[in-house]
Amino acid sequence: MEATFKTQLAKIACKVRIGIIEGVHAAKAGHPGGSLSIAEILTYLYFKEMNIDPNAPKDPKRDRFVLSKGHAAPALYATLAERGYFSPDELLTLRQIGSRLQGHPDMKNIPGVDMSTGSLGQGISTAVGMALSSKHFGDNYNVYTILGDGELEEGQVWEAAMFAAHKNLSNLTAFVDLNNLQIDGTIDEVNSAKPVDKKFEAFGWHVIIIDGHDFDAIEAALAEAKTVDKPVAIVANTTKGKGVSFMENSVSWHGTAPNDEQYEVAMSELKAALAAFN
């Protein structure tokens, strides 16, 4: 990847993180940890990978994205705003009465949201449905989804995985945000789905393991995904809370908003990171 483009993507991911913190702080609620961990993946998908147009969010031939881990809505909203689907100012309305930006994604009202999600395990099945529709009706678009690692504890994920491989849905790519934490603790403590790669392989998927914060790795994985005739799982090792020092690798930042003081610290860190690119 060209260095200047990589820097551009890194700056966007930084702005996405700023949007996440601003939204969750304004809402005084939400899920910052698992939003911050997927900033690079979302940035790459919406700024390089996917065939989409913010001016035609309902184009029937567009690529689709499903945020199966719907609680990371602040990350999706910040990415969509940065991409031009709506004004970044709207991020401050997150979770407020009258806002389009519901606590979990609402496809009916938010431009760019392709599926309503939030109840874990269901998003990947809907992505499978979209991939099936694409193939069945000859529309030839690709479908992308992001699963949480804790989400893999939902049995429906594996029903979807079984079906996708059986129906050879090679136009489906599922990222697993392997940040090792879920709301009640580490996934190792709660009910580990590890080894994640071996499980998806056993279900008939092509598996690629990457550093989920490395744009080169994301790009290479998505390029590899296009060469295989199977659904692809990209197991992305990530850091929950990435980019905000006191949120990194901390269970307590799964679903907690920063107070004003914490907000200032987080913003100063993210703004410093952004300024460092200039």
């Binding site: 609402d106 599926m115 269901q122 099945s125 499978v128 449905g129 069945h136 049995g155 029903e159 059986h166």
Partner: protein
Amino acid sequence: MADIKTVATRAAFGETLVELGAERDDFIVMDADLAAATQTGKFKKAYPERFYNCGIAEQNMVSIAAGIAATGKKVVVSSFAMFAAGRAFEQVRNSVGYPHLNVIIGATHAGISVGEDGATHQCNEDIALMRTIPGMTVINPADETEARLAVRAAFECDGPVYMRFGRLPVPVVFDESYKFEIGKGVELREGNDVTIIATGLMVKEALEAYDLLKAEGINARIINMATIKPIDRDIIIKAAKETGAIVTAEEHSVIGGLGSAVSEVICETVPVPVVKLGVNDQFGHSGPAVKLLDEFGLRAVNIVEKAKTAIALKK
């Protein structure tokens, strides 16, 4: 007496899908390893390339259907009522209902008349579950004719539709002149002493109850309420005003189904006695369907008793 033709509404469902398959190719049919029983197997045989078997995974099937519908395509999913409405309830609610997607759910083997399979498969709760989902249309056809019309109407409906079909062959009540419209009850017999509002296979029993009551000098109004949601408020209110007492009859729990839906309207508009006939707060058990309908009190004679109770409660 001439032989009355009996057809299971599930058969009408499967056959109508085949007809629609010849008319349009813009929809997919899915099943969860029960295609022979639900009758979607007929569609599979006719249009194998448009049929997808999800295997025994109803939750996944319902969410997949939501994904297909989210791409702007029509999709029909089918399983037994127990699994479509019961097991996959939350997928129907969150994947399909919340985004108001055009998914048609063809739920077969509803009610006690599943018969020998027993309580685990006798779903008497599906109407209650489905009608609590905002924007869901719930249809429970009375016979083959109505089932065919309902399937066609569901394809024209905006938003999700839950259709309830039975395993047991039931008498064909309506001829080709019958008109079906989603959200409209149909007055089948005139009368002003009491109104019997029935749905599904209880419609035929209600018509028999009409004759039994008539013989005793009681003029009952008979209404077929195929659409449980949106419920036809006007026909209920009119009946309450004109007859002063209502009996509901359904092959479903007395909690949450047609009886509840009618009561909700009556309580807030024209408070008159509403007496509910259905499966009481209990599980079913194995046995031949026709014997279970006798045992659980889902017959014309039971409707007659309830009608007399309702009349006695009139002020």
